[in-house]
């Protein structure tokens, strides 16, 4: 198929960006979206032009590195996938595809489609851990039985890949699905309960400091999340946060 691409080009954070049109031809429906981008870049390099910078790494939907906003949706029109798992069979011959970076105050553009998501790391530094030493002198792994239900629910929350699609999809650029998922994973496990009060307070404080917005229960994040992280995690974080502050 032949396609027109409208791509956000921005040389660096200091320079204003703009949309630029490109044409690609003979795109196979079996290609992944990023393989289509590879074809474009190979074409640009051969013409002596600068290829489009975009983040990508594992190309199997788990590292969370790829981050494009395609036709107005984080990771494009398919559900439950990252951009690297999006296949060209989702598009038609002659389509025009708009490709932008994830946009949020807390995700400044580095170049073209590459954004800086280190704000997510800083939220994790604020409390995304259990304070246990890694020296190996812990108790036996089966010493604390955990109900299968709680373990499965914690696992569902823990599958978050930290891509930032939730933020990019949210009209408030809120990171509450991301933070809620981490808070929930630990809140659901006995190991995590011990520090639950401080954790939720510290992570929420850092989230606010980074300039992420609040949640207004629209649910776009849940729809666009490639891992299907549930809105229940936001509700759980709110409960945890409320309880933590009541205890003060």
């Amino acid at each position: 198929m032949n396609l027109t691409l409208k791509i956000w080009r921005q040389p660096n954070a200091q320079t204003k960006g703009k949309m630029v049109d490109y044409k690609v031809t003979e795109i196979s429906e079996h290609m992944s979206f990023l393989e289509m981008m590879d074809v474009l870049n190979e074409q640009l390099i051969n013409k002596g032009e600068e290829p489009v910078a975009f983040d990508h790494d594992c190309r199997e939907g788990i590292c969370g590195m790829c981050s494009m906003f395609i036709n107005g949706e984080a990771h494009g029109p398919d559900r439950g996938v990252t951009t690297c798992q999006l296949h060209m069979r989702m598009f038609k011959d002659g389509d025009t595809i708009t490709i932008e970076p994830f946009r949020a105050k807390a995700f400044p553009v580095i170049k073209d489609l590459v954004v800086d998501r280190s704000s997510f790391d800083r939220i994790q530094h604020a409390g995304g851990y259990i304070s246990v030493n890694t020296s190996g002198n812990t108790q036996d792994a089966n010493a604390i039985p955990i109900s299968k239900h709680a373990a499965d629910e914690a696992m569902d929350a823990a599958t978050c890949i930290g891509c930032g699609a939730c933020v990019a999809s949210c009209k408030n650029a809120s990171a509450m699905l991301f933070v809620g998922a981490k808070v929930s994973q630990y809140a659901l496990l006995p190991q995590g309960r011990i520090e639950a009060v401080d954790r939720v307070k510290n992570m929420v404080a850092q989230m606010d400091l980074e300039g992420f917005g609040n949640c207004s229960n629209t649910g776009a994040c849940e729809i666009e999340c490639p891992k299907g992280i549930s809105l229940e995690n936001i509700a759980r974080m709110n409960r945890e946060y409320l309880m933590a502050n009541v205890k003060d």
Binding site: C63, Q124, T134, Q191
Partner: protein, 671 residues
């Protein structure tokens, strides 16, 4: 030829590590605060090592090319992690895990290292549970296990099909705790481009800030390389696009010996390639072989009909299918080790039985598992006379709970529903057992320079068993390196801060900058990927699942010629002082173009078949094992450690003889 000193401590195997730890030198907490350690790579090995070293009190700097340590490619490991917990009471023990790993590695690993690995394996699970890693549990609330290839027990712990992700996020959380304390300084979007040696000791690195292009100097009392494997030398592999050998190769060029580069794991269950534009291959976890049965049609007519779309795989009756692994290896069946399963798939496809358009695919079928689970569920739920539909529905639900995310991934890529039609799979490059040579302390042949995880060579011999990579990465990082590096650093307490203002740093930085400027100014006619793809094709065709002397010699010559062409004609657009993905790739491919040649040379020297290295000249001729790989313990029971001498073809071979005191060397039979 010199003899390499593996520094394996004396004494009985079972108490070696404990005795050694008891006598090792320690650094007092006040002195640790004055000692700096650099860790390159933040996957399971690097992440766990940096967290533990920081917790002990050292000042740690971590480097990764990704935008966050959490994205290292350990995250993509699916199936699980082995540990000799014997929670299932099925006869597992430290000794059995040790034995299985040595045997699985085709008797080409170091006994003492593997025993230590098996010994600390159980601790890893305790540690990860304490960190909040949500492993799968059964209804009683205890941890669940599954089976992996090459073993007869269930010792694999898992978190759905995302075990690597959960373990890495555990290590990342431990790192975050230390980052919050200021004990780890993370340098993300940074790439190490050289190691700096002062008076023969590793004293720092030169790194490029991938956002600004700035070349930075970082000093330390010891440097740890945890940069993963070199599978991307094949261009197409299950590795991440950015996975590279640059850190490992640069230290090789500065004196670290490179061991067994020809030991590569070609994983049997990957999604087959669909076209020339393919950028990477996707693994389908080995855990699928617990329940999936591998087959091709018995008749070539059926193969043809399937390829032409006239028949569907589900049209073939049981009698018309060749479950070739069950046929050839009745004892292990579909759970033979990876190298055996991959070669068997290649054998069938080479004979013309491949089931897709390219002729490079076999079926992995879940129909029997769905029926078996369905019947079991019907019993559990007291449904008598359940219809076939009901049984299917109940069975599919169990399969979904076990492998749901893998099935979804397959469907998204291939556009077929694996609950209804068998998956198509084919082997793909996955893991490299070879790597930087290290001694028992995980130190390379350069003092103060360590190498851990997939980047080193030590524990898997010529073939790695499933779910053992995660085990080794975390064992090295959490439980081995933090002890052994202390022994070295105990001699560094009087050294003081290491200056980056020295002739050695000047020289290393100059060399790095010159290389970058060369690429930017070369203005050639071909992209970096053009060369990478060509290299990959040579590697796959001549250093792939089976190798012969003639092909390997050709590969060496072809890679050398390709490298020369690369330096003449490669084109790198953009500038050095900005985010420039092509420039990053150019440096990595330049290193692959050297490593590939050494790989072929190593494969040529090893005139035996062992593990992932299959030489067509070395096969069993007669008897029950006819056609199977033939190992040669008399001439080749050694580790090949290569010393850099300029051109890869001039590398000098050093042999570390492998001694087996606990295990009797046997033919690795899975029949």
């Amino acid at each position: 030829m010199s003899v390499l000193d593996s520094k394996v401590p004396k004494g009985p195997l079972k108490t070696k590590w404990t005795d050694y730890k008891n006598k090792i030198n320690l650094v007092n907490p006040a002195n640790k605060r004055n000692i700096d350690v650099i860790v390159v790579g933040t996957g399971l090995a690097g992440g766990s090592a940096s967290a533990t070293l920081a917790e002990l009190g050292y000042n740690v700097k971590t480097f990764c090319y990704q935008d966050s340590p959490r994205r290292a490619h350990s995250i993509a490991a699916q199936g699980g992690i082995n540990a000799a917990k014997n929670y299932q009471g099925d006869g597992d023990s430290t000794y059995r895990l040790f034995y299985d790993t040595v045997k699985g590695g085709d008797y080409r690993s170091r006994e003492a290292n593997v025993y230590r690995l098996a010994e600390v394996s159980a601790n890893i699970i305790d540690q990860c549970v304490a960190q909040g890693v949500p492993f799968a549990r059964d209804y009683g609330g205890l941890l669940d296990n599954r089976s992996f290839g090459g073993v007869l027990v269930s010792r694999t712990f898992y978190a759905k099909g995302q075990t690597g992700q959960q373990l890495l996020l555990g290590a990342y959380s431990a790192m975050n705790r230390q980052i919050a304390r200021g004990k780890i300084t993370p340098f993300n979007r940074h790439e190490m481009l050289d190691v700096v040696k002062v008076d023969g000791k590793a004293r720092g690195i030169i790194a490029r800030n991938l956002v600004t292009g700035e070349i930075e100097r970082h000093s330390a009392h010891a440097v740890v390389i945890a940069s993963g494997g070199y599978g991307n030398v094949y261009f197409l592999s299950t590795n991440a696009m950015g996975s590279n050998a640059t850190a490992a190769w640069k230290i090789h060029k500065k004196g670290a010996f490179f061991a067994n580069p020809c030991y590569t794991q070609i994983h049997p269950t990957c999604i087959p390639r669909s076209g020339d534009y393919q950028s990477k291959l996707t693994l389908m976890s080995e855990s699928l072989r617990n329940d999936g049965r591998i087959w091709v049609p018995k008749s070539l007519d059926d193969v043809k009909a399937i390829r032409e779309g006239k028949k569907k795989p589900t049209d073939l009756s049981e009698d018309e299918r060749d479950y070739y692994l069950e046929r050839r290896y009745p004892a292990f069946g579909n759970l033979v080790p990876r190298d055996v399963a991959s070669r068997a798939a290649k054998e069938r496809c080479d004979a013309g039985y491949g089931v897709n358009a390219t002729g490079e695919a076999v079926y992995l079928d879940f129909a029997s598992a769905i029926e078996r689970y369905g019947k079991e569920q019907a019993k559990i739920h007291n449904i008598t006379n359940a219809s076939a539909e009901k049984i299917y529905e109940l069975g599919a639900a169990i399969v979904k709970a076990k492998y749901g995310n893998l099935f979804q991934m397959y469907e998204k890529i291939v556009d077929q529903d694996p609950y209804k039609t068998p998956m198509m799979i084919y082997p793909a490059v996955h893991y490299t057992m070879g790597g930087v040579w290290v001694d028992y302390n995980l130190m390379t042949t350069v003092e103060g320079l360590y190498c851990i995880g997939e980047a080193n060579f030590s524990d898997h011999g010529a073939n790695r068993l499933g779910a053992s990579a995660l085990m080794q990465g975390l064992a090295d990082g959490y439980f081995v390196l933090p002890y052994t590096i202390g022994d070295y650093l105990s001699h560094e307490i009087r050294t003081g801060k290491i200056s980056t203002d020295s002739p050695e740093f000047d020289a290393a930085e100059k060399e790095v900058k010159e290389k970058i400027n060369f690429f930017i100014n070369n203005k050639g006619s071909h992209s970096v990927d053009y060369y990478h793809k060509k290299l990959g094709k040579i590697m796959w065709d001549k250093c792939g699942m089976s190798r012969n002397a003639e092909g390997l010699k050709e590969a060496m010559a072809e890679i050398k010629a390709l490298r020369e062409d690369f330096y003449k004609n490669v084109s790198v657009p953009g500038n050095a002082n900005e985010l420039n993905a092509e420039l990053e790739k150019a440096g990595r491919v330049a290193d692959f173009l050297e490593l590939g040649e050494l790989f072929a040379k190593d494969a040529l020297v090893r005139e035996e078949s062992c593990g992932g290295h299959f030489r067509e000249e070395s096969v069993e001729i007669g008897g029950e094992q006819a056609g199977e790989a033939k190992r040669n313990d008399v001439d080749f029971a050694f580790v090949s450690a290569w010393e850099y001498k300029g051109e890869p073809a001039d590398a000098v071979l050093h042999k570390e003889q492998l001694e087996f005191n606990e295990i009797e060397l046997k033919q690795r039979s899975y029949k």
